[in-house]
């Protein structure tokens, strides 16, 4: 256990240090969620006038939850890019050679993703609050939302890590990104599920991201719904994707 923790800490330190001392890494990861929040909450606020839209906390909060979870997901993916870059540069081989417990490497990358996302989410939250967003959930509900975000972040990182370790090139970036992008956007992004029609309603109804989104919005608005299902999905995704990432690690090890 000691060596697992020490490897994880070492890998995490490097990633966090690089992220927070390199504006070219940090700034885009802060700006993009802000940009999406602005474009969706700012540009689409009139959507709350659609008959049937009755989210109690208002459209800004409605979009904030989406951006909160989206930033968690993409934060994990972007750290997957960093893993792929490490393989391309050969640095990952150095890590594999040096680490007594190699599973600690994945844990380290996951820690980096979490810390970076925590920074991003905090910035977005502050901006949202300054823009007048209403928060109706109680502290326990908000904590649950944060936990949900954490699980999404870890799950996305594990997915991306598995891809990165199998392909070991940045050219696998789209493979990391596109499924997550589609999963997120084939959910009720702009309006609640009940206001969707046709094929998108059918797809969103079975999309796991919908449960996460609806639960998150419910927690934020103080009207929790589907929370159990959302956590079951999130924990299940983390468990499955942990196996995926570990198999990816084996693939990287056998490639030498």
């Amino acid at each position: 256990m000691n060596s697992f923790v020490s490897v994880a800490r070492a890998v995490a330190w490097r990633g966090i240090h690089n992220a927070f001392t390199n504006p070219s890494i940090l700034v885009p990861s802060l700006l993009f969620p802000l940009f999406f929040f602005t474009a969706f909450a700012g540009g689409l606020s009139r959507v709350s006038d659609v008959p049937g839209f009755d989210f109690p906390a208002g459209y800004t909060a409605f979009q904030f939850v989406f951006v909160f979870l989206q930033s968690a997901a993409f934060g994990g993916i972007f750290n997957g890019f960093a893993i792929a870059r490490d393989f391309e540069s050969g640095f990952a081989r150095r890590l594999l050679l040096a680490a007594p417990r190699r599973t600690g490497i994945i844990a380290g990358y996951a820690l980096v993703a979490l810390v970076r996302w925590a920074a991003t989410a905090s910035v977005v939250l502050v901006v949202a609050l300054l823009s007048g967003m209403e928060v109706l959930g109680d502290p326990a509900q908000l904590f649950a939302l944060a936990l949900l975000g954490l699980l999404v972040n870890v799950a996305a990182l594990l997915w991306a890590a598995g891809v990165a370790m199998r392909f070991r090139t940045l050219q696998a970036g789209p493979l990391m990104q596109v499924p997550v992008f589609l999963t997120l956007f084939l959910a009720p992004v702009y309006v609640p599920l009940e206001l969707l029609n046709g094929w998108i309603h059918a797809v969103a109804s079975v999309n796991p991201a919908t449960f996460l989104l609806e639960a998150g919005r419910g927690l934020f608005a103080g009207e929790p719904t589907e929370v159990g299902a959302a956590f079951a999905i999130a924990l299940g995704a983390v468990a499955l994707l942990t196996l995926w990432a570990l198999r990816g690690l084996k693939s990287a090890e056998s490639a030498g």
Partner: protein, 260 residues
């Protein structure tokens, strides 16, 4: 050996540009597919927005189709830019510079690939729109005008990509700027008409953003018919962007070639 007329050189370099574009399915296919995916997602998610009082059309698809042309043009920027940057990095530009090639021929020939791609994109988007039930209010003639405006926009964006390539010589730099272009697209009237944007500062941004008028020019041909003001602004800005970007790219090319 003589250099030959400009047109002949443009044809030869254009042929190469078109061949090269079409031989990169990894780059070309996403430029077709992503705008359509985003269209499907946005239309699916925002269909109910057509019920907002004052929304200019009953069909959100009719409203949103115009955006695919702009997004396709964005891919044109990055494709044109990275192709030209690769020519600089591999030294192929030097090879061309040692021939009697005229500088203008290089730029125009390069952009021929962009135009070819834009034509295929425009045809594809319109076809899918028509199959899905879009009926342009401007009729058959309007369809041709939509294609023409779409290609003009792609030409302007492609020239921006060429300018960036000639200034930076780096495909990576152009890829890194791609998100910035995305910001311009999202901070426009792509999702809602400007008069229905509630937040004042956001509405101001979309009013200043030239991309709004490019979208609205195409959109007007679909949902309104022949809106002189929208068309004038759309064509005017598309033409202006193309002219300025071509001029900037020409100057950058002269500096990059630096030959006597």
């Amino acid at each position: 050996m003589t250099s030959g007329p400009l047109l002949a050189q443009v044809v030869h370099l254009g042929r190469r540009s078109v061949l090269r574009t079409l031989r990169q399915p990894v780059n070309v296919v996403p430029s077709f597919i992503f705008p359509l995916i985003l269209l499907a997602v946005n239309v699916g998610g925002l269909e109910s927005a057509a019920r907002i009082p004052g929304f200019p059309t009953d069909s959100y698809l009719d409203f949103a189709l115009a955006f695919t042309f702009i997004q396709g043009a964005l891919f044109a920027t990055t494709n044109a830019g990275t192709d030209l940057a690769r020519d600089i990095q591999t030294g192929f530009l030097n090879r061309l510079a040692l021939t009697p090639m005229k500088s203008a021929a290089l730029l125009l020939g390069q952009l021929a690939g962009v135009i070819a791609l834009a034509l295929i994109q425009a045809t594809l988007y319109l076809t899918i729109g028509l199959v899905a039930g879009v009926r342009p209010e401007s009729g058959v003639l309007g369809v041709f005008v939509i294609v023409f405006l779409g290609v003009l926009i792609a030409l302007g964006f492609g020239a921006i990509g060429a300018f960036l390539a000639l200034r930076t010589g780096s495909g990576e730099a152009i890829q890194a700027l791609f998100p910035l272009f995305f910001v311009f697209l999202f901070m426009s009237s792509m999702n809602l008409p400007r008069n229905l944007i509630e937040i004042d500062w956001f509405r101001t941004v979309t009013t200043i953003n030239p991309v709004s008028y490019l979208i609205e020019g195409i959109r007007s041909l679909i949902i309104t018919g022949w809106d002189a003001q929208a068309l004038a602004l759309g064509f005017g800005l598309a033409g202006g962007i193309a002219a300025i970007a071509l001029a900037a790219a020409s100057i950058a090319l002269r500096g990059r070639l630096a030959r006597s």
